[in-house]
Symmetry: C2
Subunit: 458 residues, 2 copies
């Protein structure tokens, strides 16, 4: 026993030396990344600061203030930062919207919200009968039924999809082109069922378009709960008159900014890993999940690697994109400027699916590189990531698409995402610190592995 | 083309016949189970009813009322039901607890809660200096430091554990035996840091023991936020005096019940599949996750199979166990009665880890059967289940343990579990309908597969 002990002690200097120069195993490194995130909670603290500033609607002062605020933070962390001017639309909601209708049992008062980009109703509101549309196919058969009426789109997100994003995609048309299509049939206004996966009392806003419309008509969303009730009441009394009032308006475009925060690579500075989220939000909540989470995920991922002295050999850029919600202007500017400056992006990563418990990653890349990303799968199992899909990886980074680029999107659990999405429920209270932090750690771990093992096109 | 068409038509009667007698593929069956759960939301509706009844503390009228309520529901669904009398302890919280202390900046008022089973303080409260304990090891070194003082256990749940249940287990001692151990060193009261994985403002209660104590001293929990602040203030002023007041008390034991709801098996009625959760809850919230979720998971799993005409060939029993929280009395009675009646349990399933997004299943069974359960893994991947562990499967079913029994526990995502566990935050608003429903569907799918493929000991 004593001899073994002496032998062990004699090895001590070498053991300590070995530890400082040999790389820890990937398992150990990932463990340290996740632990640091969960212990320090740096991303959650940043998200608290961000949401305390209020909503960050594109074109608002708040949105630009948030950019300045995080530029200061990134500067203090040793990033080289710059702002990219982005011309963005400005739309303001105005006073609280109104909607109501009468039934035999009294007046039903709803809690509606204008869709982003909608025109106002006439000053004193608009009253008209409703025509309910329960599927897109039904709209094709409509001839004169919508004339002079308010189109009531009541097309639920299909609950049978396990991935709520698929359910969202398949019913989002009512919000985006509902007014456009109804106006062609003579409708005077639009009410949509909120794009929410459950029955809840929040109206959920979101963008819409008038592109190609001869006549613009106002459009609002009502909660899924209100939509269910309205449908029942409308069946009982098809002649009921619906009142809607909104005084939102589009204003002149303004200049806002993308934030770009860079750390030059030590060995391959000309190759760039970009990661980001969008800093603008809707105005009903404070964009905690959409997409405050993605912004802090991105910044924290690099912060974690820097803390642990694991910065990539390639240049890393954290980008807070401005105006994803109203048309990806920031992403387009970033892509255009990058092209002009011949920036060689080799990896692009986006987090814009909320700050929930990470379940996996989506990858878009040449087949051989997708296979290499999949090789990391077992490393992430202990942290609950198991879904490695080849679906799209994010709207903002999609502007950088090239066939050689390795594009990754964080895929958190999405059961709850559309409960809060674009509504007053998207606030810090709906974010779990631990779930958020494991998202940041996941991005850090992927950057570490992709860079270390050169999972990039040659 | 025409010939092929005629050939196909000629096969139609056979195809239709084949479909009615041949089993649908397991993939299709699972899809239908999950879809039915997500579309119908039956479990969530039951959970709304249950939580509207209020808290269900062991020994309270409410707890027994909840049993009666679900007996009626089970009866109406065609189960054969019966109640098993269970003698349970009765402890009442009394008036709202008080705790405060003075600092140079004024009086700090906390929002504490008595630990379950604690004695009261003297009528007008108790004031004493504090002694902070930050690890269990430290307690071993204490000689006279606790005499006449209030022991302040401030041992955080280790955030580095990805699975928060491990963090809970490793620090739960302060709650369960904190008062017992401190009383041996002369302490006059106990304040513990809530067993919660994040910094939040809820005090979290839970059971404690005086077993073997010469002197019983009162014990309360304060929120993790309050514990952090108290620690800071105590460092600044080690002589600060802490005031605590509680008038909780233990009363005479009362009789309550387990609910047993049974459907006889069509082919193997003598083999029993039991599944359940516990119907009692703590009194601060309404036990939506702990363990209302587990009760409705269990009942809904069988409801789903019945809806789809997929009831097992074996007998199924849904059990709502009474009094998990204060000592597993219901589970012990169920196990004893089952033994007396020679009930042959072949599979036991428990859900007592919340109504969050399911991540996997834990299995305790003979090795060959564990391997067979694992073969189902790919079937569950589309629904987000990927963790098949061999950790324990549940406290209530543990009373039924035999080496031949196949025991399964539902393992939902647990990042948020200890944010709400045993606190006023454990209410229906913290439950996502979609997450809850996928849990019920998961139990239904496992019962379907285990029964169909006879994954039981011979």
């Amino acid at each position: 026993m004593t001899r073994i002990f002496i032998w062990l002690v004699s090895l001590f200097p070498f053991l300590i030396f070995a530890q400082t120069i040999s790389p820890a195993t990937d398992e150990e490194t990932l463990k340290e990344i996740y632990t640091t995130a969960l212990v320090k909670n740096q991303g959650y603290k940043w998200l608290e600061e961000l949401t305390e500033m209020g909503p960050r609607l594109t074109g608002s002062e708040n949105a630009t203030k948030a950019v300045y605020h995080f530029q200061k933070i990134a500067d203090s962390l040793g990033f080289k930062t710059f702002l990219q001017p982005v011309t963005v639309p400005q739309w303001v909601r105005g006073e609280a919207e109104e909607a109501n209708y009468k039934t035999t049992e009294g007046k039903i008062v709803l809690n509606p919200c204008a869709l982003g980009g909608s025109i106002a109703t006439p000053k004193n509101g608009l009253t008209a009968p409703l025509f309910e549309i329960t599927s897109f196919e039904q709209l094709d058969t409509v001839t004169t039924e919508l004339e002079g009426k308010i189109a009531f789109y009541n097309i639920p997100m299909n609950p049978a999809f396990i991935n709520t994003f698929f359910a969202y995609s398949s019913s989002a048309k009512q919000r985006y082109v509902g007014a456009l299509e109804a106006s062609k049939k003579g409708a005077v206004g639009v009410v949509i069922r909120s794009l929410s996966a459950t029955i809840n009392d929040f109206p959920h806003t979101g963008s819409m378009t008038y592109k190609g419309a001869d006549v613009k008509i106002p459009a609002m969303a009502i909660s899924t709960l209100d939509a269910e009730q309205l449908s029942t009441n409308l069946n009982a009394d098809p002649s009921l008159e619906f009142f809607m009032k909104m005084n939102c308006e589009g204003k002149d475009s303004v200049t806002s900014y993308n934030l770009v925060a860079e750390i030059k690579g030590s060995e391959k500075p000309e190759e760039v890993i970009v990661l980001g989220g969008h800093i603008d939000s809707w105005d009903l909540g404070t964009g905690a999940h959409d997409d405050g989470a993605g912004c802090v995920h991105s910044l924290e991922a690099i912060w974690l690697l820097k803390q642990m002295d694991l910065l990539p050999k390639r240049t890393v850029r954290v980008v807070f994109f401005m105006n994803e919600e109203f048309g990806l202007n920031g992403a387009k500017v970033y892509a255009k400027e990058s092209k002009k400056e011949n920036i060689n992006h080799v990896i692009a990563i986006e987090s814009d699916a909320g700050g929930f418990s990470p379940r996996g990653i989506s990858v878009v890349a040449p087949d051989s590189l997708v296979a290499r990303v999949r090789e990391f799968r077992s490393l992430f199992e202990p942290y609950g990531l198991h879904q490695f899909t080849e679906t799209g990886s994010g709207a903002d980074i999609s502007q950088l698409y090239s066939k050689d680029l390795v594009m990754l999107g964080l895929r958190p659990d999405n059961h709850r995402y559309f409960d809060i999405h674009h509504s007053a429920a998207d606030v810090i209270e709906s974010v779990s610190p631990r779930e958020l932090e494991t998202g940041s750690a996941t991005l850090a771990a992927f950057i570490y592995l992709l860079d270390k093992y050169d999972v990039v096109a040659k």
